[in-house]
């Protein structure tokens, strides 16, 4: 490509300043929207995954092989026999912070005037404290080792008028499907700013759960916390090897598999954002097609002259495409410069949310501060997408200019 061609293209960009600024601005907006959108969606889901790990799933879970397929019904007949033995066997898992056995089963809680469906979580409180953060903010006491004591969520407590020390009725079916009802009391009320969980999940000592649900020495799952999520593949592999040797009836599930529905939701949300980004790109594409076409019409005489003095069709075409390329590159750079402070703020400081008020009614747990996550790759991808759309947008007017009849072009120019 000759230097003159680049020079002419650049000169054309700066010749009609108003039109070029409009073109650049559309690219600047597109690149900013793509960067911000990707960053916020990634940040939002990263926060949700972190909260799910902290509040519900831990990093890894162990189940009976037949349990995951029917997990939603929370059955008591596909269990881990002798969970203490399994816990001892996986004690050497690399980077493990804690592991604990649990029993999960649906039930009903009542203040004797009103009843509500809940999920009973039989837990080992001492170990669970090291695994989940759900127990960090408790009014009253955490659970003792045994006894008919319940840790319930604030939303449930508000609905049923529970306070620490309140009496309640707890109903469920045992492992043999026999109905069971017991008197219990509220040992504490936990607050996590996530209504859906606060209403539905109650915790009881695992020893009590075993007695209440007639479970002997069994558990429905083992939950494991690692130092961080990055160690999951290594720890999962180790546990798989341990289970394959001594416990072939058990299976390992990591937090990603455990939150598969959330991943689907994230994909869907990212998909709908991509549609929005496409709309912006189309807008940029359309504007550049439009302005370049105008430019071709305005410069008919110039094109005719260039063709008359020997410039080839390909040269003319390349000149206009280069013009589109420069406009989009400048637009992208402008977009990067304009959005950089916002993206920096959102990545470093984030949006501060009052989780207890705003996020508590959502279906997914949010964090107090919602940060965007933008990688260098996001900057490059958003820029490349915009430049491609700019070049494509310039192609049709460029072809139109190149295909112009020289005599007619000169005639129009003389007029």
């Amino acid at each position: 490509m000759k230097k003159e061609m680049i020079g002419i293209a650049l000169r054309n960009v700066f010749k009609n300043k108003r039109r070029s600024i409009l073109n650049m601005l559309t690219f600047a907006v597109s690149v900013s929207v793509i960067l911000l959108g990707f960053g916020m969606i990634k940040g939002q889901f990263d926060a949700i995954y972190t909260r799910m790990i902290d509040l519900r799933t831990g990093h890894i879970k162990i189940y009976n092989k037949d349990y995951p397929a029917v997990k939603s019904t929370m059955p008591l007949d596909r269990v881990i026999n002798d969970p203490e033995k399994v816990l001892a066997a996986i004690a050497g898992t690399p980077h493990m912070v804690a592991a604990s056995q649990r029993i999960i089963h649906p039930g009903i809680i009542s203040n004797s005037k009103k009843k509500m469906g809940i999920v009973i979580n039989g837990i080992d409180m001492e170990k669970e404290k090291k695994i989940l953060t759900a127990y960090d903010n408790v009014e009253g006491s955490l659970l003792p080792e045994d006894g008919a004591h319940v840790l319930c969520g604030k939303a449930l407590a508000d609905m049923l008028g529970f306070k620490p020390g309140s009496g309640l009725l707890l109903f469920s079916q045992t492992s043999g499907n026999m109905n069971n009802l017991v008197d219990a009391d509220v040992s504490g009320v936990y607050s996590i700013g996530f209504d859906a969980m606060e209403k539905a999940e109650i915790y009881v000592p695992i020893a009590f759960a075993r007695q209440f649900l007639d479970m002997d020495n069994k558990a429905t799952e083992i939950i494991i916390r690692l130092e961080n999520a990055g160690y999951v593949p290594q720890a999962k592999k180790y546990i798989q090897q341990v289970l394959a040797k001594g416990f072939p009836g058990l299976t390992v599930v990591d937090w990603k598999e455990e939150n598969a529905d959330l991943f689907e939701l994230a994909k869907a949300k990212m998909g709908s954002f991509k549609v929005m980004a496409l709309v912006f790109l189309f807008l940029s594409f359309f504007i550049i097609v439009n302005t370049m076409t105008m430019s071709v019409y305005e410069r008919t005489a110039e094109i005719g002259t260039l063709r008359a003095i020997g410039f080839e069709k390909g040269y003319i075409m390349q000149m206009f495409i280069l013009e589109g390329f420069f406009l989009s590159v400048l637009g992208v750079i402008l977009g990067w410069i304009l959005s950089a402070p916002i993206i920096y703020y959102l990545n470093v400081h984030g949006l501060v949310l009052d989780v207890m008020k705003t996020a508590s009614s959502t279906a997914m747990p949010l964090t107090d501060v919602l940060k965007a996550i933008n990688t260098p790759g996001d900057w490059i991808i958003s820029g490349v997408i915009c430049v491609i759309s700019g070049v494509l947008g310039a192609y049709f007017p460029a072809k139109m200019a190149a295909d112009m009849n020289v005599v007619n072009a000169l005639k129009r120019g003389v007029r």
Binding site: K113, K114, K115, L169, F171, N177, N180, L181, V182, D214
Partner: protein, 246 residues
């Protein structure tokens, strides 16, 4: 003073003993036979009946349904909803330990859990589907009050719905008047009252039943037996889940 207290205590003890003392005939064998008779006094072997069911829960509008019931033995029954119009056409089938619900909008029947509440009522699906107490419970007469006796049923195994059922029944009619259902812990969960004894389908049966939910004060389900007809037999396909749409 001491003498008066002693006398009062003695009188109470004599009174209680006279009220609670059991006749010699109320043996274990008598109780077991009685349980079989009770099963039969409530439902004929094969029958067709119409019942209305009204559920009342605190703070909610009462829920009322009318059903046509076809039943054969202890383990097969088909309930068709005939009213209200919005639920008309829904069917609930029990065959052995399995339960299905058919809704006209959905072509295939849906499996139900025995533990689930039946149409939002105080009854669980299992409560309605189960009879045949003699198979699942041992019986013993533990109290007597005139002609009323308390039949205490204890679960033979741990895979039945209730650990214990206390059934007050009239020894002359062999019809239960009150039943209390207990969970594994020994705490009462539900209480059923049977009243309005009338001759229907050949013998005297309770027409009205009321099941109180002891977990939620003031919640109950009232069942009224509108009609009952003993049948010779019912074809097997009546209880085939693949035929529920017909």
């Amino acid at each position: 003073m001491k003498k008066i207290a002693f006398l009062t205590a003695g009188l109470i003890a004599v009174f209680c003993a006279s009220v609670l003392a059991l006749d010699a005939k109320y043996t274990k064998a008598y109780a077991e036979d009685l349980l079989k008779t009770v099963d039969k006094s409530l439902y004929p072997a094969v029958y067709k009946s119409v019942i209305t069911m009204t559920t009342v829960r605190a703070g909610r509008n009462p829920l009322s349904n009318t059903f046509e019931v076809l039943s054969k033995g202890a383990d097969k029954s088909l309930m068709k909803i005939t009213a209200p119009a919005r639920d008309k056409g829904k069917k609930i089938l029990k065959n052995g330990d399995n339960l299905w619900m058919f809704m006209p909008d959905i072509s295939r029947p849906i499996r139900l859990s025995a533990n689930q509440s039946f149409m939002g009522s105080t009854f669980s699906n299992e409560d309605l589907a189960s009879s045949g107490w003699e198979d699942n419970y041992t019986a013993e007469i533990t109290k007597q009050k005139d002609t009323l006796i308390l039949l205490t049923l204890k679960a033979k195994k741990n895979d039945v719905a209730y650990a214990r059922i206390d059934m007050w029944l009239d020894d002359t009619t062999k019809i239960p008047t009150e039943m209390t259902y207990y969970g594994l812990s020994g705490k009462a969960i539900k209480k059923m009252y049977m009243s309005n004894i009338q001759k229907i389908a050949g013998i005297m049966r309770p027409i009205d039943m009321k099941m109180d939910d002891l977990i939620e004060e003031g919640s109950y389900t009232q069942v009224k037996l509108e009609s009952m007809e003993a049948l010779e037999s019912l074809p097997e396909y009546t209880f085939d889940p693949t035929q529920m749409g017909r």
